[in-house]
């Protein structure tokens, strides 16, 4: 059946005959790297994918499309293209990078801690996928670093809400949120402050034993942290030495991680 371009009559079709795939692909790469105009490059790569859907060039250009979208901060499109790559070419050598691109696209959109963290969670999920599926790829290390920052961010969110409740003297909300940080986010920087805040909350309540334990665990694991100095002065101010009760859930939580 003859080409029905005239029937539609829109500009898209009068590109003339299909250009060879590699020529189009190289034009795209040239536009992307030398000319530095990812938007044009994406057009070229999409052309390759459209005209030569069965060639290996199509696979490569799909990956480059995702990368170009990522470069121009069009994260939704980058994720779309990368996901298509992963589902179409799970066996290809570059699939680790495609998966990493998905995670990185979410990662770059992480808002500040006072706002919705769904993007952070999605970033962590897709980056964990990179580590689980392609542990040996060079992207696994970068993914681990980004996950660490992502988790730190989720911990920071817990901390802001906990501080909000602490200022309003709603100790139950505050203590339970600080406990979430101490038990689930031990490897983040916020755990030190969380322990100090617990000391403050327990002192405010007058439950000195708990305050002592929190301060002691803080001192034991982070002896030179400024938070420990605050906790120490606070507990000392109450005229009591911070002594750690081994049985306390805090020390037990840390034993699990081998820090305690």
């Amino acid at each position: 059946c003859s080409s029905l371009g005239s029937l539609f009559g829109d500009k898209d079709d009068d590109l003339g005959p299909d250009l060879p795939a590699d020529k189009l692909y190289n034009e795209g790469v040239f536009l992307l790297n030398e000319k530095g105009s990812p938007k044009e490059a994406v057009k070229k790569f999409e052309e390759v994918d459209r005209q030569h859907p069965y060639s290996d060039w199509a696979r490569k250009s799909l990956l480059m499309t995702a990368y170009s979208y990522y470069e121009t901060q069009q994260y939704e499109d980058a994720i779309g293209a990368a996901k298509r790559y992963v589902s179409m070419h799970p066996g290809s050598p570059d699939v680790a990078y495609a998966q990493y691109l998905i995670g990185a696209s979410y990662y770059d959109q992480i808002p500040d801690v006072t706002r919705d963290q769904t993007r952070t969670e999605r970033a962590i999920q897709s980056l964990e996928e990179v580590i689980r599926k392609y542990p040996t790829s060079e992207y696994a290390a970068q993914a681990r670093k980004k996950i660490e920052v992502g988790r730190d961010h989720l911990a920071a969110k817990e901390m802001t809400v906990a501080r909000y409740y602490m200022e309003k003297k709603n100790f139950i909300g505050a203590i339970n949120r600080f406990k979430v940080v101490v038990t689930q986010y031990q490897t983040t920087r916020h755990v030190e402050e969380a322990l100090m805040r617990l000391t403050e909350c327990y002192m405010m309540l007058g439950i000195v034993a708990e305050a002592q334990t929190a301060a002691a665990v803080l001192g034991h694991n982070f002896p030179d942290s400024p938070w420990y100095k605050d906790a120490y002065n606070l507990v000392r101010g109450g005229g009591l030495e911070p002594s750690e009760n081994k049985g306390s859930w805090i020390s037990r939580a840390f034993k699990k991680v081998g820090l305690g």
Partner: protein, 813 residues
């Protein structure tokens, strides 16, 4: 047609999987779906699982797995690749609007099932926008090397609106009133502006419930909306919707009681909280509101788990509903966590602070509902949904708040014309949720024939975390001289306001305002001087003293200062004082029980303003004004309103009230007069006869508004009959000016022409009650609210300036 055949297979290791028929998808990609490690056995379960996975990718039309000679052959037929997806015949909906809603995408895979569901999807989109006889035809065009073009041919058909809404069985309320209750509108001349007249079956269902709740609010406890039938009437190219209502009888509240099985709750104290009073008209909303208030009150007394259920039993022949609020010990549950999700712009605490209860508190349904209402009132979100999940223990609840943000920025250009201010245009940019912190900011620029100005305002609704609003304003306004005022006055200043809500409808707004006011007068209106007139200096005597010799020419004056017009000496003395800086503290006390602030039908609003100037600054005065408005729906849809206004101003600390600080009598007090059109006035013959104003006033306005029954409902036209009366008296400003030898005189007063200051000051100050009656037309036009008034003054002073016709209105787009 998808054929699947899996025959029992010998255990084979992965390497013997042969792939046939694949062109776009690589062989090892297909093998990877078989999830078989090297040397692992490949049993039927694994094959079945692989088959499902392969189909899930959506890449294949057909997959066949057959063993042959010890190896497994997987023969696939790939879905073709979609080259282009195009739409034809779509005028109302653009290509992008449709393509985002369907699954077939260019360069995606082509599958018949997908095309079918897309076609259905397009029909749905059209129905949602009101076009019901739309037809969608998908056309598939084969292209070389396995590519395919897909074209959706759309025949949109005519727009099906709502031709007529009919109510059957409504005796208590007119069709007119019920059309106001339902959301669906009738198609008429203005329909191209509105969208609510498009036929939408779900909206008809919503209307059915709206009618039912409306009746329940007005005493009809047995109401049943029997049916809501919509038939398409081809002759009128629209639907006829018929609501059949069985109203039943109108009930009143019988006795209202509270029964509590919760020990030591003081039932008497709670009775005051009830909104349902015996003898009052039955109102379902009032019952619901009472339940909520009771729950909140009881939880404050320490019984948050008490659950309250209203039980109404009808006394049919006496037409009474006896309501009993039953209070029982509810299930003890505490809030474990409050998760806030979807807030991509608003900060977490802006939403969290709307909750009265916090994590760890007892779960209380009423307080959660109140929080949901408050979050909705923030007007930052398209929709707000609060749902509960079981927590980590049986008596723990997790509350999830899901919000969907909406644009809270506003950019509006509005224009208006009123006989008082002429044409006025305003451009304003505002943001209700600045930086997601819940702050409100607005900047506006106004420009008109008589006024020019700007205003910047910022509001923090939660000062230091308390429900205390702090408002900061900076403003500048210049009103040029006109037939109403002969001087140009420009004020630049700022104010700091605190909004303190005391109860739901009583609030106090203390404020500090500081501004610099300057008036300008063109020279022609300011050249009278009887003490040392000198034409070279531009000063001329008043007509009575024109005979004295002009030091510059040695001849008597040929020109007197009234000939080129002259402002009142009171204005000119103000001008001589130069610009003044006013610094005042004050407060507004407002009590508001209106049922609807835009167009109230019932309720009372009282606003008391007190301003005390003299906290620094050059001007000392105290100004108190009161404005009370009472609305009542005397007949269905007919709203009567009484407005009583009053004001008193006085200087203090030895300085008397400046002329500019006097109250001016205008249409805001008694209609039928110009701005500053009535009240004490300098009527010295030959001068501009400026209004002087008074230091004390009262005014009463009676008005009845009724819809124009004959005009179609959607025109939103109302007619108003009103009567006003008011009095403005006690002008305390200057009446003579010794330095210039000027005294205010009345028309037929004998003027002493030898010594100007010997005349007795006289100005128009008939202590007379002005009154007027009139009729007004109010039109809630799609362009904006418009009002035309014809007012005939009955009692007035002859020097008052009347204005029979008044028109005001504006539009925002």
């Amino acid at each position: 047609a998808v054929t699947v055949s899996v025959t029992p297979v010998l255990a084979q290791s992965a390497s013997q999987i042969v792939v046939e028929g694949n062109r776009r998808v690589e062989a090892d990609t297909i093998r990877s779906y078989f999830r078989v490690g090297p040397g692992e056995r490949l049993d039927a379960a694994k094959i079945d699982e692989a088959l499902k996975a392969l189909y899930a990718t959506g890449l294949f039309q057909d997959v066949r797995i057959t063993p042959s000679g010890g190896r497994i052959v997987v023969s696939v037929v790939e879905n073709q690749v979609l080259n282009r997806v195009a739409f034809e015949g779509n005028r109302k909906l653009k290509d992008e609007q449709i393509s985002t809603e369907i699954q077939s995408k260019p360069r995606g895979t082509f599958s018949r099932a997908l095309v079918q569901s897309d076609t259905q999807r397009i029909v749905e989109i059209y129905q949602r926008s009101g076009r019901y006889d739309v037809r969608v035809e998908p056309k598939v065009i084969e292209l070389p090397n396995g590519r395919v073009d897909l074209v959706f041919e759309v025949d949109e058909g005519g727009k099906t609106g709502v031709a007529k809404i009919v109510f059957v069985g409504n005796k208590a309320f007119s069709d007119w009133r019920l059309k106001d209750v339902v959301k669906t509108g009738e198609t008429n001349l203005l329909s191209w502006l509105k969208s609510n007249d498009i036929f939408d079956p779900d909206r008809v269902e919503v209307d059915r419930d709206l009618i039912r709740r409306f009746y329940l609010r007005s005493g009809y406890a047995d109401v049943r909306v029997v049916s809501a039938i919509s038939e398409y009437d081809p002759s009128r190219k629209g639907f006829i919707i018929t609501f059949t209502i069985d109203e039943g009888d109108r009930y009143k509240f019988g006795n209202v009681d509270i029964q509590s099985t919760v020990r030591n709750i003081d039932v008497e104290r709670l009775r005051a909280r009830l909104k349902t009073k015996p003898g009052g008209i039955y109102n379902a909303d009032a019952v619901e509101k009472s339940v909520e208030d009771l729950t909140i009150e009881v939880s404050k007394l320490g019984y948050p788990f008490a659950s309250i259920r209203p039980r109404g039993d009808r006394d049919f022949n006496a037409r009474l509903v006896n309501v009993v609020y039953v209070m029982e010990e509810g299930q003890r549950a505490y809030i474990e966590r409050i998760n806030i999700r979807g807030n991509t712009r608003t900060r977490d605490y802006v939403i969290r602070r709307e909750f009265d209860i916090v994590e760890g508190d007892a779960y209380n349904r009423a307080l959660v509902d109140r929080a949901e209402r408050r979050i909705k009132n923030l007007n930052y979100f398209k929709n707000v949904r609060i749902t509960n999940e079981p927590g980590s223990a049986p008596d723990r609840v997790v509350i999830n708040v899901d919000v969907e943000e909406q644009a809270t920025g506003e950019f509006s250009v509005s224009g208006g014309y009123s006989t008082a201010d002429g044409f006025v245009g305003e451009v304003s940019v505002g943001e209700r949720n600045l930086l997601g912190r819940g702050h409100v900011a607005r900047a506006s620029l106004t420009y008109g024939t008589r006024t020019r100005g700007f205003e910047l305002s910022f509001v923090e609704p939660y000062l230091m975390g308390q429900r205390l609003a702090l408002g900061v304003d900076v403003f500048g306004k210049e009103t040029t001289s006109s037939s109403y005022y002969s001087y140009t006055s420009s004020t630049v200043g700022g104010s700091l306001k605190l909004g303190i809500p005391i109860t739901d409808n009583f609030s106090i707004q203390p404020r500090y305002t500081a501004y610099r006011q300057e008036i300008k007068l063109d020279q022609a209106y300011n050249n009278c001087n009887n003490i040392n007139p000198n034409s070279a200096a531009g000063y001329y005597p008043t007509p009575q003293f024109q005979g004295i010799t002009d030091p510059a020419t040695g001849q008597p004056f040929t020109f007197n200062c009234y000939q080129d017009g002259e402002a009142s000496l009171a204005v000119r003395r103000e001008l001589a004082n130069g610009p003044v800086f006013v610094s005042s503290v004050g407060s507004t006390f407002s009590f508001n029980t209106l049922d609807n602030n835009k167009n109230p039908t019932n309720g009372l609003i009282v606003t008391l303003n007190e301003d005390f100037a003299g906290v620094g600054g050059d001007v000392n005065y105290s100004k108190t004004t009161l404005d009370t408005r009472l609305y009542n729906e005397i007949l269905p849809d007919v709203v009567g309103s009484i407005r009583i206004q009053g004001g008193y101003a006085t200087g203090w600390g030895g300085s008397d009230l400046r002329m500019l600080d006097h109250f001016q009598g205008g249409p805001n007090l008694v209609r039928g007069f110009q701005t500053a059109g009535w009240g004490p006035r300098d009527i010295t013959p030959g001068t501009n006869q400026d209004a002087l104003g008074g230091s004390m006033y009262w005014a009463v306005n009676l008005e009845v508004q009724t819809p124009l029954f004959f005009a179609p409902k959607d025109f939103g036209m109302k007619i108003a009959f009103f009567a006003d009366a008011g009095q403005l008296s006690d002008y305390k400003g200057p009446t003579s000016w010794a330095e210039r030898g000027l005294v205010m005189t009345c028309p037929n007063q004998a003027i002493n022409t030898t010594n100007p200051m010997a005349n007795v000051p006289c100005y128009g100050d008939e202590n007379l009650v002005r009154s007027s009656v009139g009729v007004g037309l109010i039109w809630a036009s799609p362009f904006g609210p418009l009002r035309f008034d014809l007012a005939y003054p009955i009692t007035y002073a002859d020097y008052d300036k009347k204005q029979i016709f008044r028109f005001g209105g504006g539009t925002k787009f």
